[in-house]
């Protein structure tokens, strides 16, 4: 359900930056390690943009795969969850990718 808040944040931020221009496309990056369902963001986007500069805009969501780095040995590893175990046995894994939630760009008419 936090996808609604997140979508509202996207719409508010993009509306502000658009400075009154009509927005036709918004591109966001959502890391796969976040507890965020991209389909739910898409679902919320239409209703949230109603009456804003983003009404009718297309939303592109790029999902970013998870990567971590072991704090003990420095090795990098793939992550499918926001935690993991390194081949050296350590659970001290720093997430280096896949936890982002960023608005990359917008296209204005």
């Amino acid at each position: 359900m936090h996808e609604l808040s997140i979508t509202q944040n996207i719409v508010a931020l993009v509306s502000e930056r658009a400075e009154g221009h009509r927005v036709t496309r918004v591109t966001v990056e959502i890391g796969k390690l976040n507890a965020i369902v991209p389909d739910a963001i898409q679902f919320c986007f239409g209703p949230c943009t109603k009456g804003t500069a983003l009404e009718g805009a297309q939303l592109e969501i790029h999902e970013i795969a998870g990567r971590g780095r072991c704090r003990e040995c420095g090795r990098e590893l793939k992550l499918t969850q926001p935690y993991g175990q390194c081949a050296c046995g350590s659970f001290h894994i720093e997430c280096i990718s896949g936890d982002q939630m960023r608005i990359k760009e917008m296209e204005v008419a």
Binding site: L4, S15, H21, P82, F91, I103, E107
Partner: protein
């Protein structure tokens, strides 16, 4: 439009201060949020047909900005703020009641509680003699930094005190929203599954402390404490775990001591106590 909370026309969050019973609507507009960061601002780009404008902005930037403001507000007042998170029914309110009753004589404690609806928890907290504000999030599934700022405005906790924030019972959404607290304290009870830390890894990774509550019920439930703590440490190797029974008092001393040990210390020359 409010960019921080889930305000909508049908579900306005409100904050109720129990000392005077006023429910105050959290307006879906906060003048403070208008000073948006201008880094990466696209003023210089032409707004022509089909122009792509790079934004490179964190989606939760406004919440994070407000959270940092709250954090500064706490630091400036020497206030320890803890964000208590758990599923519904883990015993958060009982932990709060017991903590307040135990420490109230030594440390002023204020509580800001979040629930979708009702002031039931705030009434329980107020019965302990503690000042409390209840935030009803309406449709919202978590507290955010904007709501907390309104709660603090209404509650006005004094310097050198503790603010305990009882978040909405939910192990998913509150993990994403920084409120400006010192740390999150996750409460898990032994009547829940022992694998909750790996089922809801974001929350247990975001928390610095886990209170494993209701241990008085261990003889009656199938719950492997050691496995639960191991799973929590897989998700978050640095998590501090206290095994407690808030109703019976087991293990609570260690939690109280942790809390006392984390009270902010005065910077030299700024002590408010008479010397």
């Amino acid at each position: 439009m409010c960019t921080s909370c889930g305000c909508s026309e049908h579900a306005h969050p409100t904050v109720t201060v129990f000392q005077d019973g006023r429910p105050v609507r959290i307006e879906n507009h906060d003048p403070h949020t208008h000073s948006h960061a201008h880094a990466h601002h696209a003023h210089s780009h032409e707004h022509e047909s089909g122009t792509t404008i790079p934004l490179e902005a964190d989606i939760l930037a406004k919440n994070d900005l407000l959270a940092q403001r709250n954090r500064g507000w706490f630091e400036g007042r020497n206030i320890l703020a803890l964000n208590l998170v758990s599923s519904p029914g883990s015993g958060k309110t009982t932990v709060l009641e017991k903590t307040i009753l135990q420490l109230a004589g030594d440390i002023p404690i204020h509580v800001i509680g979040g629930d979708q609806a009702t002031t039931n928890d705030a009434e329980r907290i107020q019965a302990t003699g503690c000042r409390v504000a209840q935030i009803n999030t309406g449709a919202g599934c978590h507290l955010d930094a904007h709501m907390l700022a309104h709660g603090l405005d209404e509650l006005q906790p004094p310097p050198d005190s503790v603010v305990l924030i009882e978040n909405v019972g939910n192990l998913v959404c509150p993990a994403l929203f920084d409120l400006g607290e010192f740390c999150k304290v996750a409460i898990l009870s032994v009547t829940e599954g022992e694998d909750k830390p790996v089922k809801y890894p974001h929350m247990f990774r975001a928390a610095q402390v886990m209170l494993l509550n209701k241990i008085d019920l261990l003889p009656h439930v199938d719950f492997n404490v050691e496995r639960c703590i191991n799973l929590a440490r897989q998700v978050n190797p640095d998590i501090t775990v206290f095994q407690i029974s808030a109703t019976r008092g087991d293990g609570m001393e260690a939690w109280y001591q942790w809390l006392k040990d984390h009270l902010p210390t005065h910077p030299p020359g700024l002590t408010t106590e008479a010397t």
